[in-house]
């Protein structure tokens, strides 16, 4: 619905953004694909020629691949489970009338604004440190032996830290969705004799359905690439090496660029599978 003049103006004005993102996507992607087909060791001889799909095979058959996939899945799944369940609970709670609602909301949301390196460092040292950490003091107070969190329960610890960071996100989105629920619907259900549990199961939860899906998809995409939390806490040791961290180590630490790039391609494919579902929902919303 416009004139040819405004349509050509529109194309022109979209061009810079589209061009920048196109370059940003295509150039590195092509390079990653290129390196993934080569044996490329910058510190040990550089470009050693084409190896076909060798890197792809070696990446998945290396002994660290499957453990890293497993670690990734446990971390992502654990964080999702914790944040969604607690997020729904918190959204329900914060939607209730109370004194100081605004302040409570701020308290709950705060962790999201803490930069990942800070939260990792604070948890690692001030809370989880087996000698001076607050948890150690607490454990000793109850007469228990302090836990060496990051070596004895490394994955649990990381799940805990990351969940703390992402719980506000889930809560905030679910709370927003909750507030768009027509309260008359709940009142009608109450008049119809539905118990609080029935109201939650038949009205609230279905209403939150789409928001929960979105929380899961967006968090999955971000969680698949968590980095700073592991970089600061365990550096990938004690079985906390996720796929992202493994690729990082291959590329920058052991400088095996070919192998790392093949891993990168796997990561890209994995993220795109999740993204596809997300985009379908977002796209549907766009039509409405």
């Amino acid at each position: 619905m416009a004139t040819e003049h405004s349509r050509s103006a529109a194309r022109l004005m979209m061009a810079p953004a589209v061009f920048l993102l196109l370059v940003w996507m295509l150039v590195p992607l092509t390079m990653t694909l290129y390196f993934s087909l080569k044996r490329y060791l910058p510190l040990r001889g550089g470009d050693l020629g084409w190896v076909g799909l060798d890197n792809y095979v070696r990446f998945v058959t290396s002994s660290s691949f499957w453990p890293s996939v497993q670690t990734t899945l446990i971390i992502v799944g654990g964080v999702l489970l914790i944040t969604v369940v607690l997020g729904v609970f918190l959204a329900l709670l914060l939607d209730q009338p109370m004194w100081g609602q605004g302040i409570v909301r701020i308290l709950v949301i705060a962790p999201f604004f803490v930069m990942p390196t800070v939260s990792a460092l604070v948890w690692k040292n001030m809370l989880m440190d087996p000698v001076n950490g607050l948890f150690a003091h607490l454990w000793k107070f109850f007469g228990l032996a302090p836990v060496e969190w990051l070596s004895q329960a490394p994955i649990f610890s990381i799940v805990l830290i990351v969940s703390w960071q992402w719980l506000p996100f889930a809560t905030l989105i679910l709370l927003t969705a909750m507030q768009s629920l027509d309260s008359e619907q709940l009142e009608a259900a109450e008049m119809d004799g539905a118990s609080p549990f029935a109201r939650f199961g038949h009205i609230v939860l279905p209403h939150l359905g789409q928001a929960i899906t979105i929380v899961i998809l967006i968090q999955t995409i971000f969680l698949l690439s968590i980095f700073a939390e592991i970089f600061v806490t365990t550096q990938g040791s004690f079985g906390t090496r996720t796929l992202t961290y493994l690729i990082f180590q291959r590329v920058l630490e052991s400088q095996n660029v070919g192998l790392g790039s093949a891993g990168g391609v796997y990561a890209i494919i994995l993220a795109n599978i999740v993204a596809l579902f997300l985009m379908r929902i977002v796209g549907k919303n766009l039509d409405a």
């Binding site: 953004a17 004194w99 789409q210 928001a211 700073a228 690729i247 660029v257 890209i268």
Partner: protein
């Protein structure tokens, strides 16, 4: 109609919610408190909550020893410039998509979103290599470019959803009134969209401020922002709790304050308009 609620129930809600809220907020609170202690008090057993000798010493030590201001300035420049450049690039694009939609608009929007989904680690080495070739490694310019690009899809999306709420008739009226495209955007659209643009700036500033993959991998001492500054404390020689806390507090304080203003925008920005 608000439902009538007994005071008793409201009290229970309040107590439970405050307890949970404080529990979630506790790590932040503890960090801030510790930053005012001496190192000995910081690791005291049993822990000291409020009754200790409040001191600002840690803050001055952190500033002296690690040049906090330089990292802070890097953070401000990187987050600020990347957001501003992003806005300037995104406003015309969002205008096009919101007011002159074509059959491809939806595809372009979704494609932009998909670039945001690209896992950073997948393109780490190419970017690293390009940065070395162009001399951008450990420079603020380099990080501004990368931050701008990774946040551009979110900026375009947010502006797009805000612009769509502005009736197209007003822009047509401006066109009828003789405003050329530039004036239409500068005098009519932009002032009307100020709240939306401000929210977009705020959220993207926060995202850029907290970004901790590229900032850690592409900077060293020179252009490192606060994320890198804090990461440097993870090495054992930096383990002084009170100083670590002071540094952390300084790194997160500005953004915590900004963040509280942007709760609503956060939802819109991070769900790409799918939850309002």
């Amino acid at each position: 109609m608000a439902r009538a609620v007994t005071n008793q129930r409201k009290t229970v809600n309040t107590v439970v919610a405050w307890a949970i809220g404080l529990l979630i907020f506790f790590p932040v609170l503890w960090t801030v408190l510790t930053s005012f202690k001496t190192e000995a008090e910081a690791i005291a057993d049993p822990p000291l909550f409020f009754f200790f000798n409040w001191t600002l010493e840690n803050y001055s030590v952190v500033q002296e020893r690690s040049d906090y201001m330089r990292y802070l300035w890097n953070s401000v420049v990187i987050a600020g410039c990347s957001t501003l450049v992003g806005i300037v690039v995104a406003i015309p694009a969002a205008w096009s998509m919101a007011f002159v939609p074509s059959r491809r608009t939806k595809d372009v929007l979704l494609w932009m979103l998909s670039t945001k989904m690209l896992p950073a680690v997948g393109v780490l080495y190419p970017i690293y290599l390009i940065f070395i070739e162009l001399g951008l490694l450990d420079t603020r310019v380099g990080l501004v470019i990368v931050m701008m690009l990774i946040n551009l899809p979110i900026i375009v999306w947010m502006l797009y959803t805000y612009f769509r709420e502005i009736p197209g008739e007003i822009l047509e009226a401006a066109r009828m009134d003789g405003a050329p495209l530039r004036n239409e955007i500068v005098y009519v659209l932009t002032p009307m969209a100020v709240p939306g643009i401000a929210s977009t700036v705020l959220l993207n500033f926060i995202l850029a401020w907290n970004e901790a993959f590229w900032t850690l991998n592409l900077t060293a001492a020179k252009a490192g922002p606060l994320t890198a500054f804090i990461a440097s404390y993870s090495s054992p020689e930096g383990l002084f709790y009170a100083k670590l806390s002071a540094a952390s507090t300084m790194a997160i304080a500005p953004i915590l304050i900004l963040g509280w203003f942007s709760q609503k925008q956060l939802v819109r920005g991070l769900t790409f308009g799918a939850v309002k």
